[in-house]
């Protein structure tokens, strides 16, 4: 059960000359849930599209279950992949069921299959009753759920989701991921996100994207241990930190310091007081992928 997804040396240069992906290599084991995490424009969507077989790479190789997506095995490889794009292409005047029947039919899934499975899948994803609602009256999150159902119909071995939880509230997101992991048990999932928290909670492997490249890759916990192992304290102040302290980062009204114990926190606050600098708030930060992103790229992750 499950498929390995492998990309080697992927590059994509668009016709205007813009190089969106600059040599990405990644490997996702069978049954894993892998996140491509990074800011907008970092090359996540382009990479996912090349993996899903809907965007031809300028260079590089993609293999799904060992089949070359852009070579001899393309038919077999692409029939194994279900892809949910970021912008759902549903006709807005139709109801959820009608839109699914039309598009799934276009993608080769029979009407009977849609009728038997779509309702169950939507209910599982936490969106019951959506089949009778017109697409134009659905929220962005509901339309995204419909897109995921479209990708799930036909039971793909590999599910590729482009920002699936965008527009969902935290509860709906939790429900969505619980359902996807249940429905795709033993099969492989790749998704893109710009939310480090989501990547950390959901994925078994994370690829941090930055300016068209993979800046770091690994299991979220391993990445955190490797790049941001120590706890941090964030001191919010209207002034820059005193020269006696060495901040890991300083931006947006706060300075961040690595700490090992409570004593370190007290020392930092004391240093501010000694320098006569105001302290508005002190916050203990558990290191996560956001901090990893900063450590490996030197840039803040927006949002």
């Amino acid at each position: 059960m499950g498929c390995t997804v492998e990309a080697v040396g992927l590059r994509k240069v668009y016709r205007a000359g813009f190089e969106a992906v600059k040599g990405v290599s990644l490997r996702v084991g069978a049954g894993e849930t892998a996140s491509l995490m990074g800011p907008n424009g970092s090359g996540k969507t382009t990479t996912l599209q090349m993996i899903a077989g809907v965007l031809r790479p300028t260079a590089g190789v993609v293999r799904v279950c060992g089949y070359d997506v852009w070579g001899d095995g393309w038919e077999r490889a692409r029939s194994l992949v279900g892809f949910a794009p970021q912008d759902p292409p549903f006709p807005r005047s139709l109801t959820g069921l009608e839109a699914l029947e039309v598009l799934a039919g276009l993608f080769g899934v029979g009407r009977a299959g849609v009728r038997s499975d779509a309702g169950m899948l939507l209910e599982e994803l936490g969106f019951p009753g959506l089949l009778g609602v017109r697409v134009s009256r659905m929220s962005g999150g509901q339309r995204r759920a419909l897109t995921i159902v479209l990708a799930l119909l036909g039971e793909p071995e590999v599910l590729v989701l482009d920002e699936p939880s965008s527009g969902l509230d935290p509860r709906a997101r939790e429900r969505l991921w619980g359902s996807i992991s249940k429905l795709m048990r033993g099969r492989t999932v790749l998704f893109s996100t710009h939310d480090p928290g989501e990547a950390e909670e959901v994925s078994t492997a994370t690829f941090i994207f930055h300016r068209g490249r993979v800046a770091a890759a690994g299991r979220p916990k391993e990445l955190i241990e490797r790049y941001a192992p120590r706890a941090r304290v964030r001191v919010w102040s209207s002034s820059p930190p005193p020269p006696s302290l060495r901040a890991r980062r300083s931006s947006g009204g706060f300075a961040e310091f690595e700490v090992e114990s409570e004593r370190d926190v007290a020392a930092i606050v004391a240093a501010y007081a000694e320098a006569g600098l105001p302290v508005e708030r002190v916050e203990l930060v558990r290191p996560g992928l956001r901090e990893v992103f900063f450590e490996v790229t030197g840039e803040e992750l927006e949002g």
């Binding site: 016709r15 005047s93 276009l106």
Partner: protein
């Protein structure tokens, strides 16, 4: 349920479903494919296609003269009396009437507005002369008999033939073929270029292009959508036409079959020829505008909405190069047996090279579209 098998057949079915669902949910579909042709039918009935033949007005001075009865008795004329001679001249000069008869004592003048009316003026003059020889007013039928007698001396006979009643009902039935051509044009344009551009914009084309069998599925979808749409709109046109009094009695079933076949070939030619446009048009709004404006110009310039016989000669001839116009012309002739169906089919040979050219162009463009969809 496992597996995705996109194919021409699955796409065809999805296309038919799309039309059925859209017609139920989207008022614009009904407006375009039912409302628009019905409006054209109503316009056709009351504007293009007249009722009974109109009588030709002939001016008389004085208005109460006895000669008016002689001219009306000939049939086909309507006497228009004038009490003011100046007004009669003015109406002649302005083209409100073309022939006028003025009595001046014992003499009668037949006035006519231009040489194209000279022949008719001479005939009227002769009729009036015979009437005067009899002594005006002549007894009913006497003028006609006298004219016939004189003509007979020279070996010329006037023979009235029992012509079949044609009438506006038959004209409306013929115009129904024109409207079917109008809708075929719009279905071909919208079901080709506009749908493809819209699919490219929302990403569907990309996903299909990247699926095994996806290109065939999209072709099936377009075929299914177009076929269902044209069947739907043609049914509406024929029903509306019957409701408005179109008279299809005497129509040849095989002629109707040939008309349908030729119209479908014309639709296919437009559909295939519109595909290359989707390579250059990026936005679906632009595509819809091109189809709307282009279609509008074509329906009025190629003898589809405005019958070809109403077009200027040069345009009427040139219009036959347009596949749907040729299909409409031959379909109209085949419908009521003016030409046998086999002859109509044989005369439609120019459709074949047009279809072949459009097919090659469409096929090449479609391949480019599909390959380009996964490049960008």
């Amino acid at each position: 349920m496992r597996g995705r098998r996109p194919s021409f057949r699955t796409g065809l079915y999805a296309g038919v479903l799309m039309l059925l669902y859209s017609a139920r949910r989207e008022p614009s579909i009904l407006i375009w494919y039912v409302g628009f042709p019905l409006i054209l039918l109503v316009i056709a009935k009351y504007i293009f296609i007249g009722g009974a033949p109109q009588l030709l007005p002939v001016g008389f001075y004085p208005g109460d003269g006895e000669l008016a009865g002689v001219v009306e008795g000939l049939g086909g004329f309507e006497a228009k009396g004038y009490s003011d001679l100046e007004m009669l001249y003015r109406d002649l000069e302005r083209g409100r009437i073309y022939i006028a008869i003025v009595s001046r004592g014992d003499s009668v003048e037949v006035l006519y507005a231009g040489e194209e009316w000279r022949g008719l003026a001479i005939s009227l003059g002769e009729a009036l002369a015979f009437s005067k020889l009899y002594g005006t007013p002549a007894p009913p039928g006497a003028v006609e008999e006298a004219v016939k007698a004189v003509l007979g001396l020279a070996g010329v006979r006037l023979v009235e033939v029992d012509a079949q009643e044609w009438g506006p009902g038959k004209s409306l039935a013929l115009y129904t073929i024109n409207l079917m051509g109008v809708e075929a044009l719009y279905v071909g344009l919208y079901g080709g270029m506009v749908t493809i551009v819209s699919f490219r914009r929302d990403g569907t084309l990309k996903i299909l292009a990247g699926s095994p069998g996806g290109a065939r599925s999209l072709l099936g979808f377009l075929t299914g959508f177009n076929t269902a749409t044209i069947a739907f709109t043609w049914a509406a046109i024929i029903a509306g036409s019957l409701l408005l009094g179109a008279d299809f009695s005497g129509a040849s079933p095989s002629g109707a079959g040939v008309a349908l076949l030729l119209l479908l070939l014309g639709l296919e030619a437009v559909f295939l020829a519109s595909i290359p446009l989707s390579l250059v048009v990026r936005r679906d709004e632009t595509a819809a505008a091109i189809a709307g404006i282009g279609g509008f110009l074509l329906i009025f310039g190629t003898g589809l909405a405005v019958p070809r016989e109403m077009l200027p000669d040069l345009l009427a001839q040139a219009a036959l190069a347009f596949p749907l116009t040729l299909a409409v012309e031959l379909g109209r002739q085949a419908l009521f047996g003016d030409i046998p169906p086999t002859e109509a089919l044989a005369a439609s040979w120019p459709l074949l090279p047009i279809l072949l050219g459009a097919g090659l162009l469409g096929f090449y463009s479609y391949k480019r579209l599909i390959s380009r969809a996964i490049e960008e």
